[in-house]
């Protein structure tokens, strides 16, 4: 919460969900964690509230009764840079990917634990505040110096191919955030490679073998099944 203290008010969070029970839970939990919570029960009210409240972060349920969740994200992104965390059930994985590609920052699968939710909220808020990040990233045994282009694992330098380094660099600059396959592919190889996810998989696999202690149980470069990859920020 160190970062949030730089604001002169507690961070405002807008909850858009049609389920009363979920809204009730979120309002209770988030208020007691020091956030100022606003709520809306459908997409239109959510968009209106976002314009009025100017929230620092939006929790958005994808299954809204009036508007498609992805559509809500698109409209929000037309003017608001506020991080959006998507809440969805497991069966809507395609929606999750679409939401992330449309501009959402993170997602949580229902049912979720409150500690997990709070961690995601803080992570997202931190990324907004700390845009101009330090050139050195540390997580567990991994140390990446973006300025010197050096990667150390447990103090030992590892040699990466240019592609592997590019992947790692992008992951580091978005540390803690889910990057979809599509986002990674377009950022590294350009839009022409969007239909070739296996290139990404091979490189991720190679990268893991170089930076992970146990590549079959990765602790840094995490797979978000069916969605994409995330670089863990906390050890």
């Amino acid at each position: 919460m160190d970062e949030t203290k730089s604001h002169d008010h507690p961070p405002r969070i807008l909850v858009v969900d049609d389920e009363t029970a979920i809204r009730r839970l979120l309002v209770t939990v988030l208020s007691s964690s020091g956030f100022s919570v606003h709520q809306a029960e459908n997409g239109r009210l959510g968009l209106a509230a976002a314009a009025v409240v100017r929230p620092d972060l939006i929790l958005l349920d994808l299954g809204l009764p009036d508007l498609d969740g992805v559509e809500v994200i698109r409209r929000l992104r037309e003017w608001s840079p506020a991080p959006i965390i998507v809440l969805s059930v497991r069966e809507r994985e395609d929606d999750k990917v679409a939401a992330l590609d449309a501009g959402a920052d993170d997602y949580l699968t229902k049912p979720f634990g409150v500690p997990e939710l709070l961690a995601r909220i803080r992570g997202s808020l931190r990324r907004v505040v700390g845009q101009a990040s330090e050139p050195v990233f540390r997580s567990g045994e991994l140390e990446v110096d973006l300025a010197k282009r050096v990667v150390l694992v447990a103090g030992q330098e590892v040699q990466l191919t240019p592609t592997e380094y590019e992947i790692l660099r992008i992951m580091v600059t978005h540390a803690g955030k889910v990057l979809t396959h599509r986002q990674l592919l377009s950022k590294i190889w350009g839009v022409s490679h969007l239909e070739q996810p296996h290139v990404l998989r091979v490189n991720i696999s190679n990268l893991r073998h170089k930076i992970e202690r146990n590549p079959s149980r990765p602790s840094l470069l995490l797979t978000e099944s069916g969605v994409g990859y995330r670089l863990r920020t906390e050890p």
Partner: protein, 899 residues
């Protein structure tokens, strides 16, 4: 008002009869007959007047076939009625117009008018007779108004001939009269009729002018009029009686009589049957006609046998119950049948044989009278001069087998030659013995007549060649006359006896063959488990026993479908139409019958007591066999056996399906039980924990933590279970559409491990992968779920301190993944069944499974075109092996870029 008097309640029998009659009427059309006694009495006129009346009442009336013969008053009545145009048939260069039965069936009016019921249709029509057309219309539910003269009814036929001297060729079974719901008598006095004839108001076909002149005599007309009046009156009487019976009005009901007539194939059979029918009518009694098959029957000429068959059919058309009985003696069989069927009167013909033959063997009449006990016996005269000169007249032609008589001649000549050679060594009296031997040989090999001939020729030859004076028929020693007489007597007796036993054996052999063929069929059918086996057995047996080619049609909904047919049969559309007719009308048709007789095959309905299953088409090699009683009986037996077998097969299939349904129901019940248990248990824990946290304020911290931990754990479990249920439902509904992406196996395993991470604790997981594993096309989400379920299982069932192994390798075109634990394993017998839904193995204390995990694994793996199997780990424990094809099945090649 309650009437307690039992005596005047309708008898159950009477109620049953009425119920049956009404049942038979249900869905059937009603027949109304306009009955007259001669042409010109105004039947057509009356019918049309009635039809116009019905039309005014708003009914749909159609003139299906009305002949006005150019009479203007009739034509006037026809006006305004819908008319179905007649069917034009070309026969030997002549255009004939017939009732277009298909057009009427298609038009399906409420009432159809069909003139001249007794008409014989042109060759090539569907039915031989118009009354058969009418029957079909009635069956289709169309009411029919029709006209007929009284002399056309079968049972009146000979009486009319006697009265008028005119032979009526076109006859209608009396059955139709019984069938008619209403009979309207059309009557004018004969004087008036003759006056109309004089005015030329009566149409008479040219070719019948002479007959008609003979017919229209005042005496004839009076007699015919009386007949028609009596016939109509007896009908009214019937209705009155049935009305009285059903309403239980006491009256002088006649005692239930039953008549029996025996058919022997004699030319007088027809007369005998008509007489019986009239007697039965007068007594209002049902009657039976039976044919007794004895060993002697085998000696009957073919013509005689055909006549038996025809007579039986005639009897049936006159309303008799027909049966065929096999017995050794006629009289006994008749008496026995009479006893069993409560016959009260037997009708027999007066014997016509010469007196001297009766001395040898008492006539059958006498035997029957002796055997029949309390049953009355009516003896009907049948003198030869009464033999009817009808169309059906047949002279009994005895085909003399000349060849065999020639053989007898040769035999005698040969014997004579032999005797002349051995003559020096035997006395003449002993030479006779050789002739006797020849007689025996002739009786055995050639039959009765040649044997008798041999005996006679033998006497002559013996006398001529061996008795002095030789080469003369004169006899010197009178003692030889004794030898002749003895030889002749012995020869004749031997001939008769041997020939008879030979014929008896022959007839027995024939029956034996038939019985055997039926036996073989039923044996084969009993062993047939499915439809293919049944039809195969029928095909084979009919081919073997009757040399018949057959086709079997079975009902497929409303349509007939060929299920099986002999190779050589070529069925055109017409044949199929005949089969279809048989199917719709539940009656035999085609070759050898009077319905659609021009067809190449005979079609028999395959029907059981309750329904019609299909049609059996038969083509016999010998055309004459179609009319043979034995063949028809055998074919009918075959047909009913076949129908029963088909029905049995269907029933057993239905039973099987019912069993499957039952099993599915049981499974569904287990599913519901399991689901409600697995959903409620965690909910109970959560509710319990939360409510105590809410209500009991005095809980210490440890208790609170414990309760919260329980609630969290149970909620997680519930979530897993719901996930499993959803997966299962998707699999069951076939809604699993795999999203193939190129997966790294290591990543796949990593994902599964991260999902299950919270439950892993300190458990060691040993992952062994070759370095060069390629990417594999898989649905990652599904396969992660599979691995999670397998790992979850291993975690639950194996002890905490034992590691779990995950191995992967490539085996030719397969990716093989093994999940190995060192737990208690599974009993050998359970290895297959652990992948079944809701199959749970005995679990260690505290382990709770849903019984769904492994079956979901199986479902997902199979969706990938892969296999899943379980085996015992070496050294104990369970190893589950997945084999997944490296290239996805062709139907699943969709690649999703977003994975």
């Amino acid at each position: 008002m309650i009437n307690n008097n039992d005596d005047i309640r309708p008898s159950p029998e009477a109620m049953l009869k009425l119920a049956q009659a009404e049942e038979a009427q249900e869905g059937r059309g009603r027949l109304k007959i306009f009955l007259g006694y001669a042409a010109g009495v105004g039947k057509t006129f009356s019918m049309l007047s009635a039809a116009r009346q019905r039309k005014r009442e708003g009914l749909d009336v159609v003139a299906a076939y009305v002949e006005s013969h150019g009479r203007t008053e009739t034509d006037a009545l026809l006006e305004g009625l819908a008319i179905i145009s007649k069917l034009r048939l070309e026969y030997q260069g002549v255009s004939l117009f017939e009732l277009d039965i298909d057009a009427v069936l298609q038009r399906h009016p409420q009432i159809a008018l069909v003139d001249e019921l007794a008409h014989t249709n042109a060759p090539g029509s569907r039915h031989e007779k118009r009354w058969q057309d009418v029957q079909e219309l009635l069956t289709a539910g169309i009411d029919v108004y029709t006209t007929v003269n009284v002399q056309h009814f079968e049972s009146m036929n000979d009486v009319v001939e006697k009265i008028t001297g005119v032979v009526v060729r076109e006859t209608v079974p009396d059955l139709l009269l019984d069938l008619a719901a209403e009979i309207q008598l059309v009557d004018i006095p004969p004087d008036e009729l003759l006056a109309r004839l004089g005015q030329g108001k009566i149409y008479i076909p040219e070719q019948a002018t002479r007959a008609m002149e003979k017919f229209f005599q005042p005496g004839n007309l009076i007699a015919l009029r009386e007949l028609s009046l009596r016939r109509a009156a007896s009908r009214v009487d019937d209705q009155m009686r049935s009305y009285m019976e059903t309403r239980a009005i006491p009256g002088p009901h006649t005692v239930a009589e039953r008549l029996l007539v025996c058919i022997s194939g004699s030319p007088f059979g027809e007369k005998l049957m008509r007489t019986t029918r009239r007697l039965a009518d007068e007594m209002k009694a049902p009657w039976h006609a039976i044919y007794i098959e004895t060993p002697d029957t085998g000696r009957f000429s073919r013509e005689n046998r055909e006549r038996i068959w025809r007579d039986l059919r005639l009897a049936e058309s006159m309303g008799a119950t027909v049966a065929s009985v096999t017995a050794t003696t006629v009289a006994e069989a008749v008496a026995d049948y009479a006893c069993r069927h409560n016959i009260t009167k037997i009708v027999v013909g007066k014997p016509t044989r010469p007196r001297w033959r009766e001395m040898l063997r008492p006539p059958i009449v006498d035997q029957i009278i002796r055997e029949s006990g309390p049953i009355d016996v009516y003896v009907v005269s049948m003198s030869p001069d009464e033999r009817r000169a009808t169309t059906q007249q047949r002279r009994q032609i005895r085909t003399i087998p000349w060849a065999r008589h020639m053989a007898a001649l040769v035999l005698v000549a040969g014997t004579t030659l032999f005797c002349s050679l051995v003559q020096p060594f035997f006395s003449p009296t002993n030479t006779v013995m050789f002739y006797l031997l020849a007689v025996v040989a002739a009786a055995i090999r050639l039959g009765l007549q040649p044997a008798v001939l041999t005996a006679m020729l033998g006497v002559l030859a013996f006398d001529f060649f061996f008795v002095s004076p030789r080469f003369s028929l004169a006899v010197a020693d009178a003692e030889y006359l004794m030898t002749f007489a003895g030889f002749l007597t012995v020869g004749l007796v031997i001939s008769t006896q041997v020939a008879r036993s030979r014929e008896r054996a022959e007839s027995l052999r024939l029956r034996e063959v038939q019985t055997a063929s039926l036996y073989y069929l039923s044996r084969d059918l009993a062993g047939a488990a499915d439809l293919v086996a049944v039809t195969g057995a029928v095909l084979r047996n009919l081919k073997e026993s009757l040399k018949a080619e057959i086709v079997i049609f079975l009902a497929d909904g409303e349509q007939l479908k060929i299920i099986s047919a002999s190779e050589k049969l070529d069925l055109d559309l017409k044949e199929r139409a005949v089969a279809d007719w048989t199917f719709r009308n539940h009656k035999e048709a085609g070759h050898g019958t009077t319905t659609l007789g021009s067809a190449a095959l005979l079609y028999l309905p395959l029907k059981t007591s309750t329904s019609i299953l299909g049609v059996l088409g038969v083509k016999l090699t010998d055309l004459a066999d179609y009319n043979s009683q034995q063949h028809r009986l055998l074919l009918n037996a075959f047909a009913s056996q076949t129908a029963m077998a088909i029905e049995r097969v269907r029933f057993s299939q239905q039973a099987e399906q019912a069993q499957i349904l039952q099993a599915r129901e049981n499974l569904e019940r287990a599913l519901l039980n399991s689901i409600s248990h697995d959903l409620r248990t965690p909910l109970a824990s959560i509710t319990g924990a939360l409510s105590s946290l809410q209500e009991q304020k005095g809980l210490d911290e440890t208790a609170k933590t414990e309760l919260l931990a329980t609630a969290c754990e149970e909620a997680t479990r519930l979530n897993r279970f719901v996930g499993n249920l959803l997966d299962m439902t998707r699999l069951e509904a076939g809604a699993v559409r795999l999203k193939y992406t190129a997966c790294a196996v290591e990543e796949l395993i990593g994902c599964a491990l991260s999902v299950i991470d919270p439950r892993l604790g300190k458990r060691e997981i040993a992952v062994r992968l070759p370095a060069d594993l390629p990417l594999v096309m898989l649905d990652m989400g599904c396969m992660i779920q599979v691995l999670v379920n397998l790992l979850d299982n291993s975690l639950k069932y194996s002890p905490q301190d034992q590691p779990i192994g995950i191995n992967a390798q490539i085996d030719r075109a397969w990716l093989v993944i093994e999940v190995v634990d060192q737990g208690p394993g599974v009993a050998e017998a359970d290895l297959e069944r652990i992948f079944d839904k809701f199959h749970r193995v005995p679990a260690p204390e505290g382990v709770r499974g849903t019984g769904l995990g492994l079956s979901i694994c199986k479902g997902f793996v199979q969706a990938h075109g892969g296999k899943i199997s379980a085996a015992i780990t070496q050294g104990g424990g369970l190893t589950v092996t997945l084999r997944l094809p490296l290239t996805p099945p062709p139907s699943q090649t969709e690649v999703n870029a977003h994975g």
